[in-house]
Subunit: 150 residues, 4 copies
Amino acid sequence: MSFVAPDPAFEQRTRASFARQGAMALIGAELVRVEPGRVEIALPFRPELSQQHGFFHAGMISAIADSAGGYAGFTLFPPDAGVLTVEFKLNLIAAADGERALAVGEVIRSGRTLTVCRLDAYVDKAGKRTHCATGVQTLMSLVGREGVKG
Amino acid sequence: MSFVAPDPAFEQRTRASFARQGAMALIGAELVRVEPGRVEIALPFRPELSQQHGFFHAGMISAIADSAGGYAGFTLFPPDAGVLTVEFKLNLIAAADGERALAVGEVIRSGRTLTVCRLDAYVDKAGKRTHCATGVQTLMSLVGREGVKG
Amino acid sequence: MSFVAPDPAFEQRTRASFARQGAMALIGAELVRVEPGRVEIALPFRPELSQQHGFFHAGMISAIADSAGGYAGFTLFPPDAGVLTVEFKLNLIAAADGERALAVGEVIRSGRTLTVCRLDAYVDKAGKRTHCATGVQTLMSLVGREGVKG
Amino acid sequence: MSFVAPDPAFEQRTRASFARQGAMALIGAELVRVEPGRVEIALPFRPELSQQHGFFHAGMISAIADSAGGYAGFTLFPPDAGVLTVEFKLNLIAAADGERALAVGEVIRSGRTLTVCRLDAYVDKAGKRTHCATGVQTLMSLVGREGVKG
């Protein structure tokens, strides 16, 4: 789908909000692409991100998938609106075994109050990309609530 | 529900596997309680775990909820079986604003191949506990696959 | 959890809305119990409700579970508000093999805009009750929109 | 994605199983298209399929979406395997207001034991198609269990 961002400064606003997410810095996630209704976040592997078998922990994949979807919705919000994840569901369809994970959030439906995104995650290993997770997310737009801007 | 763990060493096996999850160490999660079919994981707050508004990042809540459910299922597995998250869904029902988060995973249905868990998360703030997330998770038991033990 | 319905006529209003659901009449569903934040719907088995193996079709279980949750939320709405299912997720944890199915919807979190319910379904067979499905549902309260009252 | 069905008689086998689903006959659902890994089911509107506002009941949309996904997976199964829905999640992104609903199930990942499908539903009204639901479904392949063939 193709969307137009109502706020021309959507990318700057999204990058500024991402920079305030301590959790993304802690795990080493990078905001790769910001387009209207579509955001990509990359996560280079290190042992500190693993589950017990040495692959990416499902929680780390979830964290970047949730942020990718949340910011995909955020790009289409008015300048004064904050974003909240209402719920998300993720199917882990392949082992997240790779040197780098990539989460893609894409808006499917952009409403006044609720936004629905598709979430996908991939792992790259030795030049090969594997689709490792897919899901759906519901976001809420919060306007004029103190403390939730951005 | 009440379950009996087929492996008497279930707690030791669970704690050993948890200790191998680099991601749990990175975020500072602690394995609080391990019972047959029920596991609790705590996560003390620090700014490195936040989203843009200073609360726990939904991805961090998801990470401990996913691990709590995964290990709740794991306690009921035979000694040689590994655990894999097939999918999970989480509703974030209140802001995860607190000094400490607690995730509880509880087995609802324990099958030969698939296990279903309920996931809940709470935040404690100034002595008050708030239910901040609830969801459902599907796990798969993997027997005899190299590299996935535990 | 215990809730107080803001509208004293909540049961009458719920029963009137249920009676307008053609789909519930078609499949033969009955509104068994209506309490603040909790609704039960029963569905007697007949071959017309089956999947290919002769059990209740997952879609029929979903239909009564969705309605049970939707009306559980509805009992806590103000008199002029309509209810909309935003999303739901259901795990089918046992074969829905029985003479009668029972769906229970229970409010977990009742908010101004969004309500979250737990969904459960059971089948009764020869005097034995089996928990056959569990899930989570998000509802939206619609106030003052033409055509969606009730 | 493009899949090859291991059983050349996949369409015949799928149509035969669909014909045994009493629930699909009751609601008037039609198996429109059967391709390897992709199935479409249509449902003409009638008042008996409505919720309280006169649109398609979410449970009826779920029923055809669940069957479309289930049979999409089924087309890729070996001849002696039955299919079981493990879980599904559906977001209802627009009012299901139309003369006809169409559910599309598409396999995203086809495994030995588990298959993951994307579910989508549309409504047609006065020549215009609206995307009304999207979701994800997990299926299980059952081989050699009495009573679950097909």
